[in-house]
Amino acid sequence: MKKSQMEIMGLVMIVILLSLVILVVLQFIIRQPASTVKEEYYHSQLATNTLNALLRTTSESCKGYDMTGLFKDCVENYDNNNLIICEDGKNSCSYVEGAVKTILEGSLGALNKKHNLTVANSRGAGIVSIGNSACIGRRESSNPQPLSTDKGLMQIVLYICED
Protein backbone atom coordinates (compact mmCIF):
# COMPACT_ATOMS: atom_id res chain seq x y z
CA MET A 1 0.00 0.00 0.00
CA LYS A 2 1.27 3.46 -0.90
CA LYS A 3 1.89 6.10 1.78
CA SER A 4 -0.92 8.34 0.49
CA GLN A 5 -3.38 5.44 0.59
CA MET A 6 -2.39 4.73 4.17
CA GLU A 7 -3.03 8.37 5.01
CA ILE A 8 -6.48 8.24 3.42
CA MET A 9 -7.29 5.09 5.36
CA GLY A 10 -6.25 6.85 8.57
CA LEU A 11 -8.49 9.80 7.75
CA VAL A 12 -11.41 7.49 7.04
CA MET A 13 -10.86 5.74 10.38
CA ILE A 14 -10.84 9.10 12.19
CA VAL A 15 -14.05 10.17 10.45
CA ILE A 16 -15.76 6.87 11.36
CA LEU A 17 -14.68 7.13 14.99
CA LEU A 18 -15.86 10.75 15.20
CA SER A 19 -19.23 9.78 13.68
CA LEU A 20 -19.62 6.99 16.23
CA VAL A 21 -18.87 9.36 19.11
CA ILE A 22 -21.40 11.88 17.77
CA LEU A 23 -24.02 9.16 17.38
CA VAL A 24 -23.53 7.96 20.97
CA VAL A 25 -23.80 11.53 22.30
CA LEU A 26 -26.93 12.15 20.25
CA GLN A 27 -28.50 8.97 21.54
CA PHE A 28 -27.93 10.11 25.12
CA ILE A 29 -29.53 13.49 24.36
CA ILE A 30 -32.56 11.94 22.67
CA ARG A 31 -33.09 9.19 25.21
CA GLN A 32 -33.26 11.53 28.22
CA PRO A 33 -36.25 10.69 30.42
CA ALA A 34 -39.52 12.23 29.28
CA SER A 35 -41.38 14.99 31.08
CA THR A 36 -40.44 15.20 34.76
CA VAL A 37 -42.74 18.06 35.75
CA LYS A 38 -45.56 15.70 36.61
CA GLU A 39 -43.26 13.39 38.55
CA GLU A 40 -41.81 16.27 40.56
CA TYR A 41 -45.27 17.52 41.41
CA TYR A 42 -46.41 14.04 42.34
CA HIS A 43 -43.42 13.61 44.62
CA SER A 44 -43.95 16.86 46.44
CA GLN A 45 -47.74 16.87 46.74
CA LEU A 46 -49.21 13.44 46.17
CA ALA A 47 -48.43 11.89 49.56
CA THR A 48 -49.78 14.85 51.55
CA ASN A 49 -52.91 15.27 49.40
CA THR A 50 -53.69 11.55 49.55
CA LEU A 51 -53.27 11.32 53.31
CA ASN A 52 -55.35 14.48 53.89
CA ALA A 53 -58.23 13.12 51.84
CA LEU A 54 -57.92 9.59 53.20
CA LEU A 55 -58.17 10.61 56.85
CA ARG A 56 -61.38 12.53 56.21
CA THR A 57 -63.09 9.78 54.25
CA THR A 58 -66.23 8.40 55.89
CA SER A 59 -66.35 4.64 56.26
CA GLU A 60 -68.90 2.87 54.10
CA SER A 61 -70.34 0.70 56.87
CA CYS A 62 -68.85 1.53 60.24
CA LYS A 63 -71.34 3.75 62.03
CA GLY A 64 -70.37 6.80 59.96
CA TYR A 65 -66.89 7.09 61.46
CA ASP A 66 -64.16 8.56 59.31
CA MET A 67 -60.76 6.90 58.96
CA THR A 68 -59.19 9.14 61.62
CA GLY A 69 -61.90 8.10 64.10
CA LEU A 70 -61.32 4.44 63.34
CA PHE A 71 -57.54 4.76 63.69
CA LYS A 72 -58.03 6.55 67.02
CA ASP A 73 -60.35 3.85 68.31
CA CYS A 74 -57.96 1.13 67.15
CA VAL A 75 -55.02 2.68 68.99
CA GLU A 76 -57.00 3.50 72.17
CA ASN A 77 -59.00 0.32 72.62
CA TYR A 78 -56.86 -2.40 71.11
CA ASP A 79 -55.64 -3.65 74.51
CA ASN A 80 -58.94 -3.46 76.44
CA ASN A 81 -60.85 -5.24 73.68
CA ASN A 82 -63.49 -2.53 73.56
CA LEU A 83 -63.20 -1.72 69.88
CA ILE A 84 -65.98 -0.34 67.68
CA ILE A 85 -67.72 -3.19 65.90
CA CYS A 86 -68.76 -2.26 62.38
CA GLU A 87 -71.87 -3.33 60.47
CA ASP A 88 -70.02 -6.19 58.78
CA GLY A 89 -68.85 -7.59 62.16
CA LYS A 90 -65.24 -6.43 61.82
CA ASN A 91 -63.63 -4.39 64.57
CA SER A 92 -62.29 -0.89 63.90
CA CYS A 93 -58.70 -2.13 63.42
CA SER A 94 -59.40 -4.67 60.71
CA TYR A 95 -62.05 -2.45 59.10
CA VAL A 96 -59.75 0.57 58.81
CA GLU A 97 -56.95 -1.61 57.46
CA GLY A 98 -59.17 -2.98 54.69
CA ALA A 99 -60.64 0.42 53.81
CA VAL A 100 -57.25 2.17 53.73
CA LYS A 101 -55.84 -0.62 51.58
CA THR A 102 -58.72 -0.18 49.11
CA ILE A 103 -58.21 3.58 48.97
CA LEU A 104 -54.44 3.40 48.51
CA GLU A 105 -54.67 0.69 45.87
CA GLY A 106 -57.35 2.65 44.01
CA SER A 107 -55.39 5.90 44.03
CA LEU A 108 -51.63 5.33 44.36
CA GLY A 109 -51.81 1.78 43.04
CA ALA A 110 -53.54 3.06 39.90
CA LEU A 111 -50.63 5.45 39.39
CA ASN A 112 -48.15 2.56 39.85
CA LYS A 113 -46.78 4.06 43.04
CA LYS A 114 -45.64 1.75 45.80
CA HIS A 115 -46.69 3.02 49.19
CA ASN A 116 -46.73 2.48 52.91
CA LEU A 117 -48.84 4.12 55.59
CA THR A 118 -47.71 3.96 59.20
CA VAL A 119 -49.24 4.99 62.48
CA ALA A 120 -46.51 5.45 65.06
CA ASN A 121 -46.39 6.72 68.62
CA SER A 122 -44.36 9.71 69.78
CA ARG A 123 -41.28 7.52 70.25
CA GLY A 124 -41.49 6.50 66.61
CA ALA A 125 -42.54 2.92 67.28
CA GLY A 126 -44.90 1.70 64.55
CA ILE A 127 -48.34 0.49 65.60
CA VAL A 128 -50.08 0.05 62.26
CA SER A 129 -48.41 -0.41 58.86
CA ILE A 130 -50.45 -0.69 55.67
CA GLY A 131 -49.06 -0.82 52.15
CA ASN A 132 -47.63 -2.82 49.30
CA SER A 133 -43.98 -2.06 50.03
CA ALA A 134 -41.68 -1.68 53.02
CA CYS A 135 -40.40 1.59 51.49
CA ILE A 136 -36.86 1.13 52.81
CA GLY A 137 -35.02 2.92 50.01
CA ARG A 138 -35.64 6.38 48.64
CA ARG A 139 -39.11 7.62 49.48
CA GLU A 140 -41.25 10.72 49.68
CA SER A 141 -43.32 11.27 52.78
CA SER A 142 -46.43 13.27 53.53
CA ASN A 143 -46.57 15.87 56.26
CA PRO A 144 -47.12 13.82 59.44
CA GLN A 145 -50.72 14.07 60.62
CA PRO A 146 -50.99 14.20 64.41
CA LEU A 147 -53.55 11.95 66.08
CA SER A 148 -54.37 12.72 69.67
CA THR A 149 -55.31 9.59 71.64
CA ASP A 150 -55.61 8.40 75.26
CA LYS A 151 -52.29 6.66 74.75
CA GLY A 152 -50.49 9.84 73.73
CA LEU A 153 -49.87 11.64 70.50
CA MET A 154 -49.67 9.41 67.43
CA GLN A 155 -48.42 10.35 64.01
CA ILE A 156 -49.79 9.11 60.70
CA VAL A 157 -47.39 9.27 57.77
CA LEU A 158 -47.80 8.10 54.20
CA TYR A 159 -44.68 7.14 52.28
CA ILE A 160 -44.44 6.84 48.51
CA CYS A 161 -41.49 4.69 47.47
CA GLU A 162 -39.35 5.84 44.56
CA ASP A 163 -38.10 2.46 43.38
Binding site: L26, K38, N49, N52, A53, R56, T58, T68
Partner: protein, 179 residues
Amino acid sequence: MKNSNNLIKRKSQIKMFETVAILVVFFFIIAIGFAFYASISKTLISREAAEQADLRSIQFSEKITFLPEIKCTSSVSKEIGSCIDLLKADKFGYLVNTDNLAKEYYYDILGYSDIKIIYVYPEKESILVYSKPKPNYRSISTFQVPVVLLEEGNLRSRCGPEFSNAKCSFALLQVGVYS
Protein backbone atom coordinates in the same frame (compact mmCIF):
# COMPACT_ATOMS: atom_id res chain seq x y z
CA MET B 1 2.37 21.72 -29.22
CA LYS B 2 -0.97 20.00 -29.74
CA ASN B 3 0.02 17.23 -27.31
CA SER B 4 1.00 19.61 -24.55
CA ASN B 5 -2.30 21.50 -25.04
CA ASN B 6 -4.22 18.24 -24.65
CA LEU B 7 -2.30 17.41 -21.50
CA ILE B 8 -3.12 20.79 -19.94
CA LYS B 9 -6.80 20.32 -20.87
CA ARG B 10 -6.84 16.88 -19.27
CA LYS B 11 -5.16 18.12 -16.10
CA SER B 12 -7.63 20.97 -15.69
CA GLN B 13 -10.53 18.55 -16.31
CA ILE B 14 -9.26 16.29 -13.56
CA LYS B 15 -8.90 19.28 -11.25
CA MET B 16 -12.42 20.40 -12.04
CA PHE B 17 -13.77 16.93 -11.41
CA GLU B 18 -11.92 16.91 -8.11
CA THR B 19 -13.48 20.24 -7.11
CA VAL B 20 -16.95 19.02 -8.07
CA ALA B 21 -16.42 15.79 -6.10
CA ILE B 22 -15.32 17.78 -3.04
CA LEU B 23 -18.39 20.00 -3.36
CA VAL B 24 -20.68 16.98 -3.69
CA VAL B 25 -19.17 15.35 -0.59
CA PHE B 26 -19.34 18.68 1.27
CA PHE B 27 -23.04 19.15 0.50
CA PHE B 28 -23.72 15.53 1.30
CA ILE B 29 -22.16 15.98 4.74
CA ILE B 30 -24.12 19.20 5.27
CA ALA B 31 -27.36 17.42 4.29
CA ILE B 32 -26.70 14.59 6.75
CA GLY B 33 -25.85 17.10 9.49
CA PHE B 34 -29.00 19.07 8.80
CA ALA B 35 -31.11 15.90 8.88
CA PHE B 36 -29.61 15.01 12.27
CA TYR B 37 -30.14 18.51 13.60
CA ALA B 38 -33.75 18.49 12.39
CA SER B 39 -34.54 15.14 13.99
CA ILE B 40 -32.97 16.18 17.30
CA SER B 41 -34.80 19.51 17.26
CA LYS B 42 -38.05 17.69 16.56
CA THR B 43 -37.50 15.35 19.52
CA LEU B 44 -36.55 18.21 21.84
CA ILE B 45 -39.49 20.34 20.74
CA SER B 46 -42.00 17.52 21.20
CA ARG B 47 -40.51 16.81 24.64
CA GLU B 48 -40.78 20.49 25.57
CA ALA B 49 -44.37 20.54 24.30
CA ALA B 50 -45.26 17.49 26.40
CA GLU B 51 -43.69 19.12 29.46
CA GLN B 52 -45.65 22.31 28.83
CA ALA B 53 -48.86 20.31 28.45
CA ASP B 54 -48.16 18.54 31.75
CA LEU B 55 -47.46 21.84 33.44
CA ARG B 56 -50.69 23.26 32.05
CA SER B 57 -52.69 20.28 33.34
CA ILE B 58 -51.13 20.69 36.81
CA GLN B 59 -51.89 24.42 36.88
CA PHE B 60 -55.34 23.62 35.65
CA SER B 61 -56.04 21.04 38.33
CA GLU B 62 -54.89 23.54 40.99
CA LYS B 63 -57.23 26.15 39.52
CA ILE B 64 -60.15 23.75 39.47
CA THR B 65 -59.76 22.47 43.02
CA PHE B 66 -59.97 26.08 44.19
CA LEU B 67 -62.85 27.05 41.90
CA PRO B 68 -65.55 28.45 44.23
CA GLU B 69 -68.22 26.91 41.99
CA ILE B 70 -67.28 23.39 43.11
CA LYS B 71 -65.10 23.80 46.20
CA CYS B 72 -66.41 22.93 49.69
CA THR B 73 -67.57 25.90 51.68
CA SER B 74 -66.01 25.56 55.09
CA SER B 75 -64.30 27.76 57.61
CA VAL B 76 -61.62 25.10 57.94
CA SER B 77 -61.09 24.48 54.24
CA LYS B 78 -57.36 25.23 54.61
CA GLU B 79 -57.07 22.37 57.08
CA ILE B 80 -58.96 20.01 54.80
CA GLY B 81 -57.00 20.69 51.63
CA SER B 82 -58.63 19.76 48.32
CA CYS B 83 -62.35 19.26 48.88
CA ILE B 84 -65.11 19.15 46.29
CA ASP B 85 -68.76 19.66 47.17
CA LEU B 86 -70.73 17.07 45.17
CA LEU B 87 -73.94 19.09 45.19
CA LYS B 88 -72.13 22.13 43.79
CA ALA B 89 -70.20 20.03 41.24
CA ASP B 90 -73.45 18.43 40.08
CA LYS B 91 -75.17 21.77 39.58
CA PHE B 92 -72.08 23.22 37.94
CA GLY B 93 -71.94 20.31 35.51
CA TYR B 94 -75.61 20.70 34.68
CA LEU B 95 -75.17 24.43 34.09
CA VAL B 96 -72.16 24.23 31.79
CA ASN B 97 -73.72 21.43 29.79
CA THR B 98 -77.12 23.05 29.24
CA ASP B 99 -76.73 26.81 29.33
CA ASN B 100 -74.99 28.34 26.31
CA LEU B 101 -74.05 31.53 28.10
CA ALA B 102 -72.48 29.56 30.96
CA LYS B 103 -70.74 27.32 28.41
CA GLU B 104 -69.16 30.37 26.78
CA TYR B 105 -68.26 31.96 30.09
CA TYR B 106 -66.56 28.86 31.48
CA TYR B 107 -64.81 28.14 28.19
CA ASP B 108 -62.75 31.28 28.92
CA ILE B 109 -61.67 29.76 32.25
CA LEU B 110 -61.54 26.05 31.52
CA GLY B 111 -60.79 26.04 27.78
CA TYR B 112 -60.52 22.74 25.95
CA SER B 113 -60.51 20.24 28.78
CA ASP B 114 -62.28 17.41 30.58
CA ILE B 115 -62.99 17.42 34.31
CA LYS B 116 -64.03 14.15 35.84
CA ILE B 117 -64.58 12.96 39.40
CA ILE B 118 -63.51 9.33 39.81
CA TYR B 119 -64.76 7.60 42.95
CA VAL B 120 -62.19 5.47 44.75
CA TYR B 121 -63.95 4.80 48.05
CA PRO B 122 -66.74 3.86 48.05
CA GLU B 123 -66.71 2.59 44.47
CA LYS B 124 -69.32 4.35 42.34
CA GLU B 125 -69.68 5.54 38.78
CA SER B 126 -67.50 8.49 37.73
CA ILE B 127 -69.03 11.92 37.25
CA LEU B 128 -68.17 14.02 34.21
CA VAL B 129 -68.31 17.63 35.37
CA TYR B 130 -67.10 19.43 32.25
CA SER B 131 -66.08 18.30 28.80
CA LYS B 132 -65.00 20.33 25.81
CA PRO B 133 -62.68 18.41 23.48
CA LYS B 134 -60.56 20.45 21.09
CA PRO B 135 -61.46 19.76 17.45
CA ASN B 136 -58.73 17.66 15.83
CA TYR B 137 -56.69 17.53 19.01
CA ARG B 138 -53.26 15.87 18.90
CA SER B 139 -52.92 14.78 22.49
CA ILE B 140 -54.49 14.98 25.91
CA SER B 141 -52.47 15.45 29.08
CA THR B 142 -54.24 14.06 32.14
CA PHE B 143 -53.53 14.70 35.77
CA GLN B 144 -55.19 13.30 38.89
CA VAL B 145 -55.49 14.95 42.28
CA PRO B 146 -56.80 13.08 45.35
CA VAL B 147 -59.71 14.99 46.85
CA VAL B 148 -62.27 14.73 49.63
CA LEU B 149 -65.71 14.57 48.07
CA LEU B 150 -68.37 16.02 50.36
CA GLU B 151 -71.51 14.03 49.55
CA GLU B 152 -73.91 15.37 52.15
CA GLY B 153 -74.07 17.41 55.34
CA ASN B 154 -71.98 20.31 56.57
CA LEU B 155 -68.28 19.87 56.75
CA ARG B 156 -66.28 20.92 59.77
CA SER B 157 -62.71 19.82 60.42
CA ARG B 158 -63.57 16.16 59.95
CA CYS B 159 -66.32 13.94 58.56
CA GLY B 160 -66.94 11.62 61.51
CA PRO B 161 -70.14 11.63 63.62
CA GLU B 162 -68.32 13.11 66.59
CA PHE B 163 -67.51 16.23 64.53
CA SER B 164 -70.18 16.81 61.92
CA ASN B 165 -73.01 15.20 59.99
CA ALA B 166 -70.92 15.23 56.82
CA LYS B 167 -70.43 12.18 54.65
CA CYS B 168 -67.20 12.27 52.69
CA SER B 169 -65.80 10.03 49.98
CA PHE B 170 -62.31 9.61 48.60
CA ALA B 171 -62.11 10.55 44.94
CA LEU B 172 -59.67 11.53 42.24
CA LEU B 173 -60.25 14.74 40.37
CA GLN B 174 -59.06 13.96 36.86
CA VAL B 175 -58.22 16.87 34.62
CA GLY B 176 -57.47 16.33 30.95
CA VAL B 177 -56.12 19.22 28.90
CA TYR B 178 -56.33 18.99 25.10
CA SER B 179 -53.53 20.29 22.90
